[in-house]
Amino acid sequence: MALSVENPVPESLAASTNTAAGPALSIKGLRKTFADVIAVDGIDLEIMRGECFALLGPNGAGKTTTIEICEGLTAPDAGSVSLLGLNWHYAARDLRQRIGVQLQETQFPEKLTVEETLRLFRSFYRRGTTVEDVIGLAQLEEKRRSRVGTLSGGQKQRLAMACALVGDPELLFLDEPTTGLDPQARRHLWDLVDHLRNAGRTIILTTHYMDEAERLCDRVAIMDHGRIIALGTPQQLIASVGGDHIVEFAVTTHDGDSNPLDGAMLTAIPGIQSHRVDAGLHQLSVGELHTTVPRIFSALADLGLKPSEFRTHSATLEDVFVRLTGRNLRDE
């Protein structure tokens, strides 16, 4: 397996002399094709030190391929990657010592204990935290002498996280850290990520849970079909939908027939930024609920229509994805 990044950019060489400043991660023109599937289709990205950054997208969007290229596990077909001002081509050894990686689906040996597993990983790093500290950080104290095979899904995931942290990394990659976990275990893991983030660590994670990205991250890149289709803070992205709130309803005529309601008529109402129909459900993005909702009701009444299933929620990253792709994230 080649670890090198082809066509290294000269700037990254120059930058290697100055590793204390500059972006934690810089990607330019990244492309990767597997057989006839384009996994990554031209990505440019810069992530600052101390940032907690999410690659958000449905399965198959190219998140894992992107993060594995950044981790030096996959060679890109084109483009360059620079981590901490260094390049996989020239500084792989150094980078391995300075980053922490948690992969999807790693199964640690079931017959080793938590402590033994961590001691093994600790031995690979020149410097790092003590095994005791990282067990405390991952809240695995009670399980330190338990075999990995006896751990719950959430505990296994925290162990994977602990293995990524044991070298005290400057840059932490987490690939789908909460996929497959129950809600409680997810929240537990979020607390751990929060803790790391507050401690000033640079974290790059992938997820297909929009609430996870929204809750944990300073900035989010939404990926679809190997491209970044939106980039910004969760607030910026949500604002880009054009309203803070989403209004959803279906309509029937007073006779009980379902009625094709004209979208243009709705967007003409002041305060409504956009309109779309999903499975008979009208979705409107709205700036101010208290002024706009009465207008919607009166407009519907004027047309002799009765709204049903009327509800509102604050706009989320999910709505951003829907707006940009016309598809739901969780459908994938």
Binding site: R96, L103, P109, K111, L120, S123, Y125, C163, G167
Partner: protein, 343 residues
């Protein structure tokens, strides 16, 4: 890196050891199974007193004559019934009185029947008054080292070294690959050579226990001889184990699933179980395939182990098998380093 506990090669090797010791099945196959096999074979092929052969005679005087031989147990039986008994193997020879003398019915491809023919005729001739031209007497020996158990112990040792090396390496590596653990290791700063070296180191440590237990048992229970230098025997065991470890590494270098690896291992080991002379001498195979048989690492290993243990031949006279083992160490190791799949 100051203390041993923080050394990654030490930790990797200790991990291999822990995982092996926590796998009861592996312990059985490596330590218990060869001993059970040796016990079973030792019992089956123990040196019994010479067999007494059942034979038939058609007249009382023939039966009388043959019963003088202590190697024969004759019964009186008529020719038709005797022929039937012969056909179903209850007797190995039928002596038939003919007007002009005696006819012996037996299967000349059966060694027991041939023995019975010699003993019966000798007894019949002696009863008829024949005397020995030269006086002879018997001086019986039971020489250790010439028994079947002596032959089979080096064979079992070679087979065990092959099995534990190939299974030990092959399954562990393929399992780690299948569970994405190899990929996780590669994502850490672990030196890759240390991962592979940890297998060889743990193998060598296990080897000491494995060989001592098995040979100690063979020595204590069966009195199997060690005629050659023990140091050279140790060297041969290490070389054999390393060669098969290299082969195991090669088998494991690409396989993505346990099923694929398991099939490959059987494909590699089965011909050797049959051809390499574990249970019987490899020289029984036709001359055309002898070059192939002798190019197999297990044949080389067993030949060398037998030469050392049973004949006391020094290493400098075992250049052939040692060279074969070296070739099987170097070539698969180089190839697997090139083609090894880390993810």
């Amino acid at each position: 890196m100051s203390s041993l506990r923080e050394n990654s090669l030490y930790e990797l090797t200790a991990t291999r050891f822990r995982l092996f010791l926590r796998e009861p099945e592996a312990l059985f196959w490596v330590f218990i199974f060869p001993i059970l096999l040796a016990v079973g074979l030792g019992i089956a092929f123990r040196n019994r007193p010479a067999d007494v052969l059942r034979v038939g005679g058609t007249t009382p005087d023939l039966v009388q004559a043959m019963s003088a031989s202590n190697g024969l147990n004759p019964i009186l039986i008529d020719e038709a019934a005797g022929t039937h008994e012969l056909a179903i193997g209850r007797i190995v020879l039928l002596a038939v009185r003919r007007p002009d003398g005696v006819a012996y019915k037996y299967d000349e491809t059966n060694p027991d029947a041939r023995n019975a023919r010699l003993l019966a005729d000798q007894a019949v001739q002696r009863a008829a008054g024949q005397t020995e031209a030269v006086r002879s007497s018997n001086d019986l020996v039971h020489e250790k080292g010439a028994r079947y158990i002596d032959f089979v112990v080096p064979g079992l040792l070679g087979m065990n070294l092959m099995g534990s090396a190939i299974w030990g390496l092959g399954f562990s590596i393929v399992e780690a690959r299948q569970k994405k653990l190899l990929k996780r290791f590669v994502a850490s700063p672990m030196p890759r050579w240390q991962y592979l070296a940890s297998f060889l180191l743990s193998r060598l440590l296990m080897l000491v226990i494995e060989v001592c237990v098995f040979l100690g048992f063979a020595r204590a229970v069966f009195g199997v001889p060690f005629r050659g230098s023990l140091w050279e025997l140790g060297f041969l065991c290490v070389l054999t184990s390393l060669s098969f470890s290299a082969l195991g590494l090669l088998i494991a270098s690409r396989a993505k699933t346990m099923e694929a690896a398991s099939g490959l291992m059987n494909l590699v080991m089965l011909p050797m179980w049959i051809l390499s002379g574990v249970f019987f001498s490899a020289t029984r195979f036709p001359a055309v395939i002898q070059p192939l048989v002798h190019a197999l690492p297990l044949t080389a290993a067993i030949d060398a182990l037998r030469a050392n243990m049973l004949e006391g031949i020094v290493l400098s006279h075992l250049v052939g098998p040692v060279a074969v083992l070296f070739a099987w160490l170097v070539v698969p190791f180089m190839v697997s380093l090139r083609i090894f799949r880390w993810r």
